[in-house]
């Protein structure tokens, strides 16, 4: 597939010309948001300034209560004098006592900002014991005055006043202790005892670089994605709608050349956005139109700016490729916009890598596109350029951009996506033919309901009710609903077919093998990119409440999920997707969806892995029964493991390797005895022209 320069240039020039003639879109979708950012930054900064100043200047009103009120007032006098002494008369003691018969009520009514409750330590202890409070009183001499600042944290000024008072009190106490020591013959001031001198090796620019480095990439990604999206969506999806894409496809240029020209166009827009945005921020910060506490300008020299631009080039390329890919898969402008939203959210994620503390570029992160540049930029700005790894990161991201562009080219050859779509019979007939189109929708709704139900039930009912509601109510119930709505044939949809006997043998081997392999893979991944230990534990751990007897737990956690979850995911969902996607993609999708239904972050991956395993079994055997058995047995084994306290995540590497081999053997047996799921997509692939 040759890409001829002059043709690409001609295409690019024409596309550019057309884009520049649509001034309205350019102004409103690209330039305007860029201009808005400084205003937003300025606004939030201004508001914060105002708030700080207000809190500084307020004179806080408080009341004093409690049996030791007199002692408290004496103390406050000393505090005021101390404040005046240390600032030479210009009193920062912005507190004023107010008379209040019922201080608690006064606080409630905002008549005071806070109040002081003065008691002796012994009285505090009595009070806590009387109120049967959970907190244990601190060990103190019984006569000591305890001053409690009572405030309301949901009120800005109350919280601020109380904390300022506490600070003033602490300052005074420190000073008084110094005096006490002096009077007792202590030769030094407190500040000279074990004085700490912090020597900062970093320059001002480097410190500023840290902050800037964390923020720059996410901000840039935000503008790149939203700004270039307008052009990208129009350039493929919009053209499809208008019919001009078809015209282009009948000319002598190859698909690759078309994609290359459009890619160049989007890249141009992306680069322009990058340059404007970087310049924007620097101008505003440099001229202190947006006052900042750290000196950002010190972090960025002209050389650094050029290096930044170079580093961000492949990011712009990758963004352009991804947007083109999304646009290529959509058949209209609106559809492309719909896809854009989740892409946008996902795209922002890698940019946040710079915010992870202690993640150096010299680690596995260097192969993750965009995330690697994010970390590289941070390292550049703090003055620790690691040139070799910068180059590696650049290459990795550029390679990702190229590969994605190739995928986009393939989208232009996929006929389903090029040809205008005539009304399909499925819509007219309804019933089973409509189910594949709606299945994703249904599962999305089911997911939402599951999420809301489980989040709200979690703390209120016990495990048994929760499980029953989830499994029987939601999964089983939802499945039955779908079957009835679309008049699906139960046997076909749920793949209720017999399998060859050898498959059962394979399942018996597969259950322990699959479990151990999963754990092993996870531990392997842990070496490259460290993951919190909770994730690994989640594989072999079950949350078991002590109060539930085993004879109830067993069916609840093994048989019931084995039936209900399989029916829902490997039955309904798999059936709905099996014609639309490539078999491997089906297994992946079903697995991931299954994982997503287990909402806690650390259980998603292990569950997804299992889901893919089960889905593969169903696809290979055309029957749901082996998967049901596997699922139930797996859960049972996990249960057994945690009851018996087996440490499955700290076995020797040899054991995991053995398990992987056993798993492979299991699948080999299944493959040899396969009775594939009917109606799967063939493995053909068409070559792009």
């Amino acid at each position: 597939m040759a890409v001829r320069g002059p043709l690409v240039a001609a295409l690019f020039r024409t596309e550019l010309r057309m884009m520049l003639r649509d001034r309205r879109t350019i102004l409103l979708s690209i330039v305007l948001p860029l201009a808005v950012l400084p205003i937003m930054l300025f606004a939030s900064h201004a508001m914060n300034e105002r708030r700080e100043r207000r809190l500084e200047e307020t004179v806080y009103e408080f009341a004093v209560t409690g049996p030791r009120g007199a002692g408290a007032r004496d103390l406050l006098d000393r505090v005021r004098r101390h404040a005046e002494d240390t600032t030479g008369g210009d009193t920062p003691f912005r507190f004023r006592e107010v008379e209040a018969a019922d201080p608690a009520q006064a606080l409630e009514n905002s008549q005071v900002h806070f109040y002081l409750d003065a008691r002796s330590a012994a009285e505090v202890k009595d009070m806590l014991e009387r109120d049967d409070a959970a907190e244990r009183p601190a060990a103190r001499p019984p006569d000591v005055l305890v001053l409690t600042t009572v405030f309301r944290a949901d009120r800005d000024d109350s919280e601020s006043g109380a904390s300022r008072m506490r600070r003033a009190l602490a300052d005074t106490r420190r000073a008084e202790r110094g005096v006490i020591l002096r009077q007792a013959g202590f030769p030094l001031a407190i500040a000279d005892v074990a004085a700490v001198d912090a020597a900062n090796l970093a320059s001002e620019g480097q410190v500023a670089g840290l902050t800037l480095g964390r923020l720059l990439t996410p901000l840039l990604l935000l503008f790149l994605l939203s700004g270039s999206a307008v052009v990208a969506i129009d350039s493929l999806a919009g053209e499809k709608e208008r019919g001009t894409l078809e015209t282009l496809l009948t000319t002598a240029v190859s698909r690759a050349e078309i994609v290359a020209a459009k890619h160049l166009l989007i890249l141009t827009v992306a680069v322009v956005i990058t340059v404007i945005q970087v310049a924007n921020l620097l101008v505003y910060v440099g001229f202190e139109l947006i006052p900042t506490t750290t000196n950002f300008a010190a972090a960025v020299t002209p050389l650094t700016a050029i290096l930044l631009l170079l580093l961000y080039l492949p990011v712009a390329g990758l963004v352009a490729s991804v947007l083109l890919l999304v646009s290529g898969h959509a058949r209209s402008y609106k559809e492309a916009q719909l896809y854009f939203f989740p892409v946008f959210l996902m795209g922002m994620l890698p940019g946040l890598a710079a915010m992870l503390p202690g993640l150096p570029l010299r680690s596995a992160i260097v192969v993750v596109p965009v995330a690697n540049i994010s970390v590289a930029v941070k390292e550049l700005l703090i003055g620790r350029p690691d040139w070799l790894f910068f180059a590696l990161a650049w290459v990795a991201t550029a390679a990702a951009a190229g590969w994605t562009a190739r995928l986009a080219t393939r989208a232009l050859s996929t006929e389903r996506l090029i040809a205008p779509v005539a009304a399909e019979a499925a819509e007219l007939l309804g019933g089973p033919a409509l189910f594949p189109r709606h299945v994703v929708r249904w599962f999305a709704i089911l997911w939402a309901v599951t999420l809301i139900v489980s989040l709200n039930l979690e703390t209120r009912v016990d495990l048994r009710v929760q499980t029953l509601v989830n499994l029987v109510g939601l999964f089983l119930g939802g499945s039955i609903l779908m079957i009835r709505r679309y008049r699906l044939d139960v046997r076909q949809t749920l793949a209720l077919r017999p399998v060859k006997p050898a498959v059962w043998l394979a399942v018996m081997v597969g259950v322990p093998a699959g479990m151990l392999t999963g754990i092993g893979v996870f531990r392997l991944a842990n070496i490259i990119l460290p993951v919190p230990p909770e994730v690994i534990e989640a594989f072999s751990r079950f949350l078991l409440p002590e109060s539930v007897p085993m004879w109830q737990l067993l069916p609840l956690l093994t048989i019931l999920p084995g039936i209900c979850e399989e029916i829902a995911f490997r039955g309904l969902l798999l059936h709905g997707l099996h014609r639309r996607l490539h078999p491997a993609a089906v297994a992946l999708a079903v697995g991931l969806t299954f994982g997503l239904f287990h909402v806690s972050l650390f259980r998603i991956l292990p569950t997804a892995y299992l889901g893919m395993l089960f889905a593969s079994v169903v696809l290979l055997t055309g029957s749901i029964f082996p998967a049901m058995a596997w699922h139930g047995l797996h859960n049972g084994l996990s249960l057994l493991a945690s009851q018996s306290g087996w440490q499955l995540s700290s076995l020797e590497p040899r054991t995991y390797a053995l398990a992987a081999a056993a798993l492979a053997a299991c699948f080999w047996i299944i493959w040899r005895n396969r009775t594939p799921y009917p109606g799967l997509r063939p493995w053909r692939r068409s070559r792009p022209a």
């Binding site: 001053l147 020591l181 202590f186 912090a198 992870l356 503390p357």
Partner: protein, 427 residues
């Protein structure tokens, strides 16, 4: 046919069509329900993760020669489990710190002022541009501070200072805001921006769909040929857009309120705060009123801007400035401690947002609420009137006007520029 009956029939058709349009269902119903809870969850999970990472990382600290007579100091460091002392001080420690191999170097030096036996000065060398190094320095300083406190207390004891005198007084804090108050406070902080954005998103696609979408599909003329008056048609469309804006706003408020607690729970567990997220019953009417008013205003504004669009794309880009316009004032409201003062009650969008926010936290300033309602209704009426003026021009209604809102204002209202074209231009 009586006008309201016509409006109802048209309105029903618009809504039913819209519910079958994937884009509108996603943007006006699904996104409000899922987006913010999802974002909140992602953000807080991320924060928890990052915090866990940074706290979990042990600080690598090198100590050069402990000072004599301070065995307790070494113990203080050893007790701090997140500090890992290296065996000896490596050569070129400064360079190692700069490279990130070492987090901090602690040196005990002779004191600046003499007089106290066993006194020392501590120099902590670190690199502020490395997160781990900064954390290490904080941990080291904290350990030394603790040691110093204990040392001073011992000195006081040996000098026969009474314990009670040394204690002086104790400082405690007590927050009497209930979990519900805290929850409402947090909700009140986050709600304004969410709320306005959601109503705007909810109105956006229906507004474009009702104007440019019709033209694109070619059903505009079909619509113009029915037995209802033009005003009825436009009113029906307006009500339809406002309905979806309202729907989006309400769904979002509900979703955020319902999912706040479970989403924030992990984060709150660590801080030990108790928070409940519920909205006072009395706030519901105010919130509903606020949503209605905001949706009414946003719908009117968006439709006016989009009235000139002939394709979906044009419609989108024409509405964007209005969208940004209403978001900007709300950005200013993100800080806590802003009061719903009377001047604010006269600013559209801001007044409704403040009204809803205060209702959520249980505060009701009736005079301001009254002014808000009046001002909002007035603004909506003004928009509707402006829209009706626009619609008097045949070519705009028929969709053959080829300019935008700005051009229209310039030509027709100010009377400059090109003459109005006939119906055939640029079909």
């Amino acid at each position: 046919m009586r006008p309201w009956r016509a409006v109802l029939i048209l309105y029903r058709r618009e809504v039913v069509s819209a519910l079958r349009e994937r884009t509108i269902v996603v943007n006006s119903i699904l996104v409000p329900i899922f987006l913010y809870p999802f974002l909140l969850w992602a953000m807080f999970t991320g924060i928890t993760f990052v915090q866990g990472q940074s706290e979990g990382l042990a600080s690598r600290v090198a100590v050069a020669a402990w000072p004599d007579g301070h065995d307790g100091l070494a113990r203080e460091f050893a007790d701090e489990e997140r500090v890992r002392l290296t065996d000896r001080v490596p050569a070129g420690a400064d360079a190692r710190i700069r490279d990130g191999d070492l987090d901090a170097l602690v040196e005990f030096l002779p004191p600046a002022t003499a007089g106290l036996e066993g006194n020392f000065r501590v120099r902590v060398t670190y690199d502020e541009s490395k997160e781990r190094s900064g954390i290490a320095k904080d941990r080291v300083t904290a350990a030394i501070d603790r040691y110093r406190e204990a040392w001073l207390k011992r000195e006081a004891e040996t000098r026969a200072v009474a314990p009670a005198r040394w204690e002086g007084f104790a400082i405690e804090r007590r927050n009497v805001a209930t979990g519900r108050d805290m929850g409402r406070f947090l909700l009140g902080l986050m709600l304004p921006l969410f709320f306005v954005v959601m109503v705007a998103i909810g109105c956006f696609y229906p507004a474009v769909d009702a104007t440019a979408g019709e033209r694109e599909r070619g059903t505009w003329e079909t619509l113009m040929s029915v037995a209802a008056s033009r005003t009825s048609i436009v009113t029906a469309k307006y009500l339809y857009v406002a309905t979806f804006g309202c729907l989006a706003g309400t769904l979002n408020l509900a979703a955020v309120t319902l999912t706040m607690r479970p989403v924030l729970a992990p984060l709150l567990e660590r801080t030990g705060e108790q928070m409940e997220f519920s909205v006072p019953l009395a706030a519901l009417p105010v919130m509903i009123a606020g949503t209605l008013l905001l949706a009414a205003f946003v719908a009117a504004g968006m439709m006016m801007f989009a009235a000139f669009a002939r394709t979906f794309r044009e419609g989108q880009s024409m509405i964007t400035p209005f969208y940004l316009l209403i978001l900007l004032p709300v950005m200013f409201l993100q800080t806590p401690g802003i009061q719903f003062s009377m001047p604010l009650a006269f600013v559209p969008v801001v007044n409704v947002t403040m009204m809803v926010r205060e209702a959520v936290t249980g505060a009701f300033h009736w005079p301001q609420i009254g002014v808000t309602i009046v001002v909002s209704l007035a603004v909506v009426a003004a928009c509707v009137y402006a829209a009706s003026l626009v619609l008097r021009f045949e070519d705009v209604v028929m969709g053959s006007y080829t300019g935008g809102l700005a051009g229209f204002l310039r030509e027709r209202v100010l009377g400059r520029g090109r003459r109005p074209r006939g119906a055939e231009g640029g079909a």
